[in-house]
């Protein structure tokens, strides 16, 4: 029996390690110009499927359509793969894409541990790496790279917007519930810095194993007995949904305020408004923000009817569009040759699209998009499907992110 079990575990491990590469080829128009290949690498089966997943691929393809690649005589292909939130798997897929499939640009890549692992591969192969889905601010700090742009948000911006708002509202003592990996720790560290800088205290933290934790009750009871005023959730996706649900069950929302430091509209949808109502959260995109975001949502929604775009998806669209503009500007052959040159050109050009309006990219690779603090609506205020947010505060791009000098990014010249 032991032998059977052992071989069973090996089989399972082998099966789950199989990379599920699904090519989604867009027909090329003309053969003579070199083909630009875009690889969407994200979670397509695990806890972050709805925050990235197939909707990211849809948004990348929407950018191709809106840019009009076929009418401009460009050949662009999009392929996608599931990294299963495993850094080793992601690195081997990326190597295969660069070496065998001739991929020029890597996009989305949620899960900070995976995102960090890819920095060195992309740099070694001199390709372009546009990250929308991962949060860690280390990506433009100590771990920055000349081939990299961080598009949509980061842990510093979340900490400043959501954390700052909580402290301002009197939440001066915190207890953290933290996913025990690169992202959770960075988010906890960035938020703690804000809390202590404004005179608050961090009373404790429970770092739980990621992935695989579904029951947070022990940690919630510990948080409750710490006497802190704010419960900071330094986690994401399904973990955030479960912890908020269970916090309500244990009556934490009567004695503490909950700060969901990273929450997407897809998570609010999963929670339901009766549990989520009143939560503060930060995104840099909301489908119902203005005419342009509504127009964008109207274009992509038929292709992803059950999953409205969140800021990660919008970032994939915006980054791809800006990349295509740059490639058209410098020529496909030049863009294929040199990733650093392409990224430098992208940094030099102003960013402009329906999702984020206009922004600029800083030399450390930070795209300075506006961040918005939202409050989740009460069920009675919500008028239609996915009508979930009230806008509370707006932080312009040049104030939302960590000052350049504080990031200690080695490629930035002092």
């Amino acid at each position: 029996m032991i032998l059977t079990r052992r071989s069973a575990l090996t089989t399972v491990a082998a099966a789950s390690a199989l990379p599920l590469i699904r090519p989604a080829v867009i027909p090329s128009a003309r053969a003579q110009t070199p083909t630009i290949k875009i690889g969407v690498l994200n979670d397509q089966s695990g806890p972050y499927t709805n925050t990235g997943g197939a909707t990211s691929v849809v948004c990348v393809k929407q950018a191709l359509e809106d840019f009009g690649v076929s009418t401009k005589g460009m050949n662009v292909e999009v392929i996608a793969a599931d990294h299963q939130n495993k850094p080793d798997l992601a690195v081997s897929i990326a190597r295969q894409w660069f070496d065998r499939d001739g991929v020029d640009m890597l996009i989305d890549v949620p899960t900070s541990s995976v995102a960090l692992a890819l920095q060195s591969v992309v740099r070694e192969k001199n390709k372009v790496y546009l990250n929308s889905g991962a949060a860690s601010s280390a990506l433009t700090g100590a771990q920055c790279s000349p081939n990299f742009i961080h598009w949509t948000y980061d842990t510093y911006m979340l900490a400043k917007s959501t954390g700052g708002a909580m402290v301002k509202a009197g939440g001066d003592s915190w207890y953290f519930l933290t996913a025990d990996y690169a992202f959770g720790k960075q988010l906890q560290a960035d938020t703690s810095a804000f809390v202590t800088a404004s005179g608050g205290k961090v009373l404790g933290a429970a770092q739980y194993p990621f992935p695989g934790t579904t029951d947070f009750s022990s940690f919630l009871v510990q948080a409750q007995s710490s006497g802190a005023k704010v419960l900071g959730l330094a986690n994401a996706g399904g973990d955030t949904v479960n912890s908020i649900k269970q916090a309500a069950e244990f009556g934490l929302n009567n004695s503490m305020k909950i700060a969901a430091l990273l929450m997407f509209i897809t998570d609010v949808h999963a929670l339901g408004l009766d549990v989520a109502a009143g939560l503060n959260l930060t995104e840099s995109f909301y489908w119902d923000l203005n005419e342009r975001t509504r127009a964008f949502t109207k274009r992509v929604l038929p292709k992803t009817p059950n999953n409205y775009p969140n800021m990660d998806h919008a970032g994939c669209y915006s980054a791809t569009l800006h990349y295509l503009k740059t490639v058209a500007d410098m020529g496909a052959a030049e863009a294929k040759k040199d990733g650093v040159a392409t990224v430098n050109r992208m940094k030099a050009m102003p960013v402009e699209d329906d999702c984020f309006g206009s922004s600029k990219i800083r030399e450390d690779g930070r795209n300075m998009v506006t961040s918005y603090l939202f409050q989740v609506k009460k069920p009675s205020e919500s008028k239609g499907p996915w009508d979930y947010y009230n806008l509370v505060a707006t932080t312009p791009g040049d104030e939302a992110y960590r000052p350049l000098a504080d990031g200690h990014c080695p490629i930035v010249k002092a």
């Binding site: 059977t4 069973a8 399904g238 999963a270």
Partner: protein, 295 residues
């Protein structure tokens, strides 16, 4: 305040209680696995997916048919159990004569297919399912705040576990069942329809998983991955308890819930691993598991 190992006493008691609650889920899931393994010799890797189907069935009953929690507690296990019987009849029954490994591979594949289909249809974020109004609220126990629903889970799990154990160990039906696994041809010679008995056993084990799924729906988000998160731990529970031992899996389920709960206080980072550490130790010392019979 009493301090135990540097942790305030009340906090520790709270964690013990929470450990028991989680243990209730482990016990129910590993019980189904133990019944199926004990009677059919199939390592049912699809158990997690069937647990997830139980949760989804209760969500669907509410969302599509307006049927509430308590009827779902009966209906969802019946529906999912019927699905299990269909699986057993059409696919699993073909593997009884082969090595365990084939059954494991088949059920592992089935679980991937089932989860994939649900993920395709409902996404991965999960769906909301409310705690029924009558079980909302909480007791203040002095040392902690116990949600009524969690208390209900422990009671329901205990009732189900003990009645399953009683049916198998104490009734004539259970005796026939046990005899059939020992020597099927002989029992068949006495006029018992053994294949049907085995089919119903599989259905019963699956219904247990679905029942746990319905209990879990209001606590965890109802999502296609909810079974995968549990199944590895539950397998460890079955191995520690002794494959096929009914009482063993119930006691080990509750026991390991408590061990895990304590680990969450002292060193949370290891709480996902501690069960496997225990498994390694048990396998080294007692390879047949704590309650397993000698060969």
């Amino acid at each position: 305040m009493i301090m135990i190992f540097g942790i305030p006493g009340p906090l520790l008691f709270g964690q013990l209680l929470l450990g028991l609650i989680n243990g209730a889920f482990y016990a129910m899931l590993s019980l189904g696995l133990a019944v199926i393994f004990g009677m059919l010799n199939i390592i049912n890797f699809a158990h997690g997916a069937l647990f997830m189907m139980g949760a989804f069935a209760s969500w669907m009953l509410l969302d599509y048919a307006g049927i509430g929690y308590f009827p779902a507690l009966i209906l969802a296990p019946l529906l999912v159990g019927a699905f299990g019987i269909f699986l057993e009849k059409t696919i699993i029954s073909r593997l009884y004569k082969l090595d365990h490994l084939y059954g494991l591979l088949l059920t592992f594949g089935l679980s991937l297919v089932i989860e994939g289909l649900f993920r395709n249809a409902y996404g991965s974020s999960g769906l909301p399912y409310r705690i029924p109004a009558i079980l909302q609220g909480a007791f203040n126990l002095g040392f902690m705040y116990l949600p009524i629903y969690r208390g209900w889970v422990v009671v329901a799990a205990l009732v189900v576990c003990i009645s399953t154990w009683a049916i198998i160990e104490k009734t004539s039906l259970g005796a026939t069942l046990r005899a059939a696994t020992e020597n099927a041809p002989l029992v068949q010679a006495f006029g018992v329809n053994v294949p049907r008995l085995i089919t119903l056993t599989y259905g019963g084990g699956v219904a247990l998983a679905a029942f746990a799924g319905v209990l879990a729906a209001p606590i965890y988000s109802v999502n296609p991955n909810m079974g995968t998160n549990f199944i590895n731990t539950v397998f460890a529970v079955v191995v520690i308890g002794g494959m096929g031992s009914i009482m063993g899996s119930i006691l080990t389920g509750f026991g390991l819930g408590v061990v895990e709960g304590l680990c969450k206080v002292f060193y949370p980072q290891a709480s996902a691993t501690v069960v496997f550490v225990v498994m390694v130790i048990v396998l080294l010392v007692r390879p047949r598991g704590l309650f397993g019979k000698a060969a």
